[in-house]
Symmetry: C2
DNA sequence: GATTAGTCTACTAATTTTATAGGATTAACT
DNA sequence: AGTTAATCCTATAAAATTAGTAGACTAATC
């Protein structure tokens, strides 16, 4: 399951994507609207900034905004940054690869293929879920 | 990522599936062969037994064995028992459903569809991975 | 230079995961 | 009946991860 941090991150980003191009949005506003503990959100947004998803501006009129267009930010990136690997086994992870200690021999690991297939399917779906697509869906649902 | 408990469970079950029909296998043997801490494995096998995947026999000559044929035991069941929900969000889980606190309105939740699709694809792949299929793969790889 | 808003470091609390210890129970064999 | 070999059960502990908080610092604007 996704961590709260990750879910908070996704919701905050969708919120920011809705306001893309309208200047910085303050942490407090996002926290209030999305019901996220402010201090926790602060740390999360900082991580997203260091992960090159968000930019920030300090001082009056400052806040956070997307570093790229919404269609260029998808959920794989967000999840990797705030939740870790997408694969269910370390030995089939693209970005967080580690050999399984409990695997006697990796190449012939019985369960590897299954989880490799799952990873590929999951990545496919997640990479189609970019912020632009999510915002579009949201607007449609609100009607 | 899957917990160690879950990975241990899967490896133990594949081991037992290989020996299906040859009488009970002792915890100690499985622990040694699969490099699993014995006491931890004990607890895991007990859970699998309570989950109606394994049967056990006490006393001398006792041990664990599959409660059903290998083709009738698939990874969805094993993962749910030893790792929890397969879905990435509680609100799209079949067996562990909970509404998301952080969702303002569930029906129109922006990200729900994405994770519903992932759950369905994952379930499909996992349910095809039954113990019989995994053992077959293993035998083929060993050649 | 006062105000406003993000930045950074460091901590704490709660929860979950990964075990381990030790005795109770059951079955088989002599 | 007694010994041995195995699982069953309860309780606990250590380690890791997650969730959240506090407070001083820095930069931008007016």
């Amino acid at each position: 399951m996704l961590s709260k941090k990750c879910k908070y991150a996704i919701h905050a980003l969708v919120y920011l994507a809705e306001r893309h191009g309208q200047g910085p949005v303050q942490i407090g506003e996002i926290a209030d609207q999305q019901k996220i503990p402010k201090k926790f959100l602060e740390a999360i947004l900082l991580e997203l900034r260091n992960g090159r998803i968000l930019n920030s501006k300090k001082g009056k009129g400052g806040g956070y905004y997307l570093q790229r267009n919404p269609e260029e930010i998808n959920l794989t990136e967000v999840i990797r940054l705030t939740n870790g690997p997408i694969a269910l086994l370390p030995c089939v992870s693209l970005n967080f690869y580690e050999s399984c200690e409990e695997c006697v021999n990796e190449k012939n690991c019985t369960i590897r293929t299954t989880f490799l297939t799952i990873r590929d399917e999951t990545l496919k779906i997640l990479s189609e879920s970019n912020l632009s697509a999510l915002v579009k869906k949201q607007k449609k649902d609100r009607k």
